[in-house]
Symmetry: C2
């Protein structure tokens, strides 16, 4: 879908834009169900799948990424889904409504797997989640992922570690049968949440430079290597402030910010996107799971000297605690004393801590400073020494 | 209560210390119910109310502050309380248990008033809160305090603005009768939550320098103007990183941190307390109320050029919203572009935002940067553009 973005940026604020017709009111012509088959950057034109040529002065690449559909026998059977965009969601919803579903198997225990567990379980569907890795949400510490597996078990979701999907065939009692390295699983619905891939074919065909990650290389203004061509979202790289390098980090809030920055630059209001620190979060039933910055492995890879500390604290003052737990793990750099990353888990307060830690990473604070940060204290929200302080002081002791 | 603090800091970790006897096990002699009548800094000794002299090498002033008891007729009647320390709380609790209470009047709608509203209301007591000021929690914007008054009303707590207490006498149907500028109020319990005062008599008598605020002057190691004498907590000043000056800011978490820093320095592990940014929070029924940094008035007083913006956002992604509101107000400095302060209110997420803003203030971030901070995004916890981003971008537009 090629969009024209121009001086309508301001105009469009006055309108609710939901359909191609809404866009037309702003002077923007939206072509849906139209593929871009080729780009001629010298002439400044796109060849569209409807056979026409579309000229441009400024081009924004926002081609995103696609959900990976595993190449296994039966991977295209009815009832087997991926979940990436609105169309995917509508298809799955229609299937659930029309055909019903008693059992679902989720392949992949990342974000999509974890979030869909809850969504499907809330519909009363029996849910199993499998992953080829030994733990769900592998980015998090094994102590924390243990808590996730326990939370899944509490809600009758079975997690199957180190299980490889092999084939899907039609079933008898249930509509599908999934063959795995760990045996057969019945299901009415199979969802593949195993990551994304991006196609750089168009970008490469027009000679845009790609970064080390293979995604489109951009600068802080979202400009690509070609004058007049911008890239935003899951098709391009982003600057990681903690790693100090350009990385591929396809998350929705990052894409949103990049879009705004590109739009401002195109509209004549120069802006730079400062980058990210790797903040991320998900909710699985009653658990908040969040992380930011680098893991120890990433930090080592990027040349830091990582040291870590983990503590179990409280999201409320001790006298108000009713058995809540708040896990905080911090990673620091032995050489510079700086904070490099953090992750938290708990029924409440985990996202709050990771949010604050993200700002600390953004500003390049030292672990020592994190141990003394002035945070809003009141017993319903934490201790006089917040879990963040305790974790930072524990980490300080190891550095 | 003079404490000896020395090389037992590490030892004490192995023990739970609750009573003077527990302390004795660590070699610390705790004298309770003993007043310090005088200090001779040249000799290094304290004259105690039991007639003895206590020598010291190192002295820590942790004399705190006292709750103000209004000097009105009947201010000392049974059933009239202040709330500062454990003894105050135990007295009030005993009175509630032994005598019962149907109606309570809270004089002062600050932290103590707001928090006690909820505590008393939860006991089924009819509660009225009065203040000589036109609004409760006066530090917060009037839009926000309106939300507090509504929350109080929802829980049948009446707020009486601009009401001055005049006298308390014994009552008939209820045990007390409070005369105010706005008429008579019946009560079984009257609680005065009208702030604190501190006595600098001891500090002055031994020649300690006081700051502009009248509290004991300290440096970043918590040292006073006299060698070997430290001060911590509500009797001393603290460095405000946003204001760039030493201020009086008597909060429990600050006192805790100062105590740790003094202890480390005395124990031979040099440490500095970097200061505060003015983070604070309270909970009133289902509302989180939090603030950090400077208000516009404070900012103007300290020579900044304050500009502010306020927005009503959401603590969850729009598709998940069920009518929640999250108010965010930010203050920036027109001259430098820096963030100067923030305040938030809402059923949830307010403390989270103020916590992140506090780290931004700590690091001296610009309003522009706050508008692009990388925060952990997932729909159960906020929008792709967080309320903080939206507020910062709105403020940026005004600067």
């Amino acid at each position: 879908m090629p969009y024209y973005i121009g001086d309508v940026i301001k105009e469009s604020k006055k309108l609710v834009i939901r359909t191609p017709e809404d866009f037309k009111k702003t002077g923007i012509d939206v072509k849906i169900k139209t593929r871009v088959d080729g780009i001629d950057p010298k002439k400044g034109s796109l060849s569209l799948s409807d056979g026409t040529l579309l000229p441009y002065d400024v081009l924004v690449m926002a081609t995103g990424a696609e959900a990976i559909r595993l190449d296994i026998t039966g991977g295209d059977l009815e009832g087997v889904y991926v979940l990436r965009n609105l169309t995917d969601a509508l298809k799955m919803k229609a299937y659930l409504n029309e055909k019903g579903c008693k059992k679902a198997v989720l392949i992949g225990a990342g974000y999509i797997g974890m979030e869909m567990c809850e969504a499907l379980r809330n519909l009363g569907i029996e849910v199993k989640v499998m992953d080829i890795l030994p733990r769900p949400a592998i980015r998090w510490d094994s102590e924390f992922t243990k808590m996730i597996v326990e939370e899944l078990a509490k809600t009758q979701v079975e997690f199957r570690p180190e299980t490889k999907p092999q084939a899907i065939e039609k079933g008898k009692d249930y509509r599908l049968k999934l063959q795995t390295s760990g045996g057969e699983l019945d299901a009415d619905l199979v969802l593949m949440g195993v990551g994304t891939k991006r196609s750089a074919v168009l970008a490469e065909s027009m000679g845009l430079a790609l970064g080390e990650s293979g995604a489109i290389k951009v600068d802080f203004r979202q400009k690509t290597s070609r004058e007049g061509v911008y890239a935003v979202g899951d098709c391009c790289e982003v600057f990681h402030k903690v790693a100090g390098r350009w990385v591929y980090f396809p998350l929705g809030d990052v894409a949103n910010k990049q879009g705004r920055v590109a739009g401002q630059n195109i509209g004549g209001y120069p802006a730079e996107f400062p980058g990210i620190v790797g903040a991320q979060a998900f909710k699985v039933f009653n658990l908040e799971v969040a992380a930011t910055g680098l893991t120890e492995e990433e930090a080592a890879k990027y040349g830091f000297q990582p040291v870590s500390a983990m503590i179990w604290g409280l999201p409320v003052g001790r006298p108000m605690a009713k058995g809540e737990k708040l896990g905080v793990k911090l990673v620091g750099d032995k050489t510079t004393g700086k904070l490099l990353g953090g992750q938290c888990i708990g029924e409440k307060g985990a996202v709050q801590r990771v949010s604050s830690l993200s700002v600390a990473l953004w500003a390049g604070l030292s672990v020592d400073e994190v141990g003394y940060l002035d945070l809003p204290y009141a017993p319903p929200f934490g201790g006089a020494w917040d879990a963040i302080h305790i974790a930072a002081q524990s980490l300080k002791g190891k550095m």
